[in-house]
Symmetry: C2
DNA sequence: GTCTATACACGGATAGAC
DNA sequence: GTCTATCCGTGTATAGAC
């Protein structure tokens, strides 16, 4: 990366029109990924959706993957922000339950974001460090074990299982919209709860 | 020209050479998917790995996706066959534990197959009916609940969570080979066990 | 029956004109 | 800043050599 960062002025290349374009491109990309999936998300389709040419898209983002990655992080930031806020304002002993409920709730409430996140999360394309996924939850689980005064569990395995379980439940909901994830999430909450009860 | 090879043995179109070629193509495909992932698995790479041209590959398989799909099913058949055999020869009350242990054990023992299955499972490309994934385990869970005489649980949710959990554990093992999935699987076994203990 | 050669349409990406 | 023109790679279809 460049080492620029000279001033807070930021005249460099942040025209209003450019910022609007980029926001629009993100929005269009999220929509296409949500509707047709990662594989069917072509540069041409994004360009068409934004009313520009492929090259114009690649002016604003160095590569297609960079654009999709940015869109993914944009959506992920909203998710983890909401989940983190919910967990921090809760009883540590109930942390895991709050984590599961708020995450499933957010995903159920934002189908567009939901499909995008599942696609990105499961797609090994841009392999993010798995650690960033399970480590926060592992700490929440350990905190809950301490607050409850029970012997510590295998936090890493428990967090991995819970994370994978959430993915599976949400994916099932996407495939069968009639499936009630909120109810299903309570099954996971119970499993975590009993795992922290001895 | 008029080579009247009407000798004994297998003529027809299941020539030995053809069967060998197809087996080789399957093997090469599994290797490439295991090593580089679904996205990076191109027809040219498969052909190169087999020492033939792209068209030769498409002579044996109608399309690239058909070949990859066949390779996936080839690997999956070995997995579900082993798991099914293990579960059938076990105490129904211990069905879920046997299921988890044999599945994780098989995946840990066959890294190539493992990566292939995870890739295919998570990749929304050829969307297999999710039902075929969780329904067998759901029935095993219900059988275990009956055998234990406990009130029935939400078998669908429990099976989905366990399946997603297994995926996550195996994926973590692929990313960090030092991670002991066998130990981690016991955490999942315990969670399922306590879920079936009331 | 098995393959090579070739050609096509589409994908992402680059160079340079306006 | 956006476009046209162009390039290379990928999947697929066809012809025809052996």
């Amino acid at each position: 990366m460049t080492t620029g960062r000279r001033d807070a002025g930021a005249h460099r290349e942040s025209t209003l029109a450019t910022q609007a374009r980029r926001a629009q491109l993100l929005d269009v990309t999220i929509g296409i990924v949500a509707e047709h999936g990662y594989a069917q998300t072509s540069l041409a389709r994004i360009a068409e959706g934004a009313g520009v040419t492929k090259a114009a898209v690649l002016y604003h983002y160095p590569t297609k993957d960079a654009l999709v990655e940015t869109a993914y992080e944009h959506v992920l930031t909203a998710l983890i922000g909401e989940v983190a806020a919910a967990v921090e304002g809760a009883d540590p002993a109930e942390g895991p339950a709050v984590y599961v409920r708020s995450m499933v709730g957010h995903l159920a409430a934002h189908p567009r974001h939901s499909r995008m996140i599942i696609e990105a999360m499961t797609n090994a394309g841009a392999d993010h460090d798995p650690r960033t996924r399970w480590e926060p939850l592992a700490q929440i689980i350990e905190a809950a074990a301490r607050a409850r005064g029970v012997e510590p569990v295998d936090a890493r395995a428990t967090a991995l299982i819970a994370g994978g379980g959430i993915d599976a439940l949400v994916a099932e909901h996407l495939h069968d919209p009639g499936y009630d994830v909120t109810v299903a999430a309570e099954t996971l909450v119970r499993m975590l709860d009993t795992a922290l009860s001895r």
